[in-house]
Amino acid sequence: MTSQPQASREASRRPIAPQVVPGKADVCVSIPIVVVCSILTLIGVAGFIAGVMTETEPHAWEAFLCNFLFFFGVAQGGVVISAAFYLTQARWGGPGAYRLAESFYFFLPIAFVLFWVLFFGRAELWPWVTKPVAKNPTWLNTPFFFAREGFALLAMILLDFWFIRVSQRVDVRQWALSNDNIMMPPTAIRRLAPAVAITYAVVMSLIAFDLIMSLAPAWKSTLFGAFFFAGAFWSGIVAMALTAVILRGRLGAENLFTRDSVMHDLGKFTFAFSVFWAYTLFAQYIVIWYGDIPNETFFLVVRGALIGGPAGYTLYTPWMIPTWIVPVLVWVIPFTVLMGVKPKKTPAILGGVAFLGLIGMWLERYVLVVPSIEPRHIPFNWIEATITLGFLGIFGLCAIPGMKLTIAAAAAPQVLEAAER
């Protein structure tokens, strides 16, 4: 392997401990977290079953789809952030940054299993299941739909796991520790990172077009796929920021997240990618607003998003409130609050903005999905709430394996030393 001559040259210049990051066994799991998450999961399952059995409106299925999209986006976003770090050769946080990004990877296979639950609710969600769309039945039909989604998700998740396995290898971690050279990461990760990034763009776009856009089959927007995966990417970043802020307090004296520069960098990413999300939103908005083509504008009108329509006409609908809250939480607050240097370095502020951002992104998924099913009122009730809690519980449980590695990396002395440089 090409990295070995370099590794031996490196070793002769500066000795590196063979085991760069302490093993998983060193970090013990907090029992209360497991208990709370398990209870939340049970609540969610109960609520889901109750919702499916009793209600006539598809509350349970809507909530399931929204939560699936949101939490899958966070987990997958994290993994692709790690790939993006490799592509840009980011070594500002050593292996700790990579572990932080990959913290939620264990949710991905669970998400794959959860996806298949949607098969049973397909008639309640997608209109073309019961009423085939005349213009394009080849694309929008049940067998092809679930086959391609299943295939795409499976391919993406297998690639993710391969990537994560290589990302946790010793030589890759050693590369991440060395910040004072122009050396590229080892060959294996150099091949996998772009593959993960490209697959992410393709698969997430497919999910957006299929799972969300086809809820309103008459509507189309070419940027929608990118809008969805930009939002998922950002939700991964703020999940990382929130995790870093929480771990900073809980890990005791010295850890990676007490480094001001690490907080600063996470704050900068939060700021920059919230602007990027707003950009993709505006790019779609202005084209649809300006063209004023009814086939396109109805999507905005239903959500109460179309302001200053033809000759100043604006439709007032209850959906206006959540629709306009979303850009406030996802763009306005991060942009105005995190503009300066100090707020980015203040954990309470960064954590607060990240928390609000996660709520905002969840609401964004809700606003994208549910108005296509229930255009006239906001159907949120206890069923949707319990299912959301259930997903939160499952996500929390799945975050444990990745989190253990993150904690180990954040407290490792070599990582702290590398972050100094």
């Binding site: 300006y290 004023d292 302001i307 100043g312």
Partner: protein
Amino acid sequence: MAAEIELVGSFAEEEECIHAVEALRRSGVEFRVFSPIPSEPLIHAIGRGLSPVRMFVLLGGISGVLTGIAVTVGTSWEWNLIVGGKPVVSWPPFIIIMFELMILFGGLSAALSFFFFARLPQLEPIPGYSERFGADRFGIAVECDEADSARIEAMMREAGAEKIAHEDPRPESAEH
């Protein structure tokens, strides 16, 4: 009054210059640093804090947004026709103009406030400057009495000064 001279220490390495700066700061001596490269550690060692340019850029940006609103909304109201089905005051296009003017005014404020604070254009020569400091040497110039000069020279030599020149603090001609 003792004669004032200009001590100009020349350093080959950034590290040495930073050591000298820290030593001089600790002893409370006023000095001027010359550097051929933008060195963050050196600027940090001098310890004057963040530049006020950023305040002016923020003000410039805000004034750009306000100008954008004034120009777009004002001119649309002046000749208020509904054009292409778009209302007279239509925010999506106006946001674009507001954004561009924000960047324009912010950028120009950055340049102008930089000139103001850095006192450019600098028409008179700065005492202590030598061409080497623009090329490959770091320099520290201290204006002091003859009596103090030995102590300051010692500090600079300890940090690793290559060469220390005694110069006239008020040169008539331009730097050589």
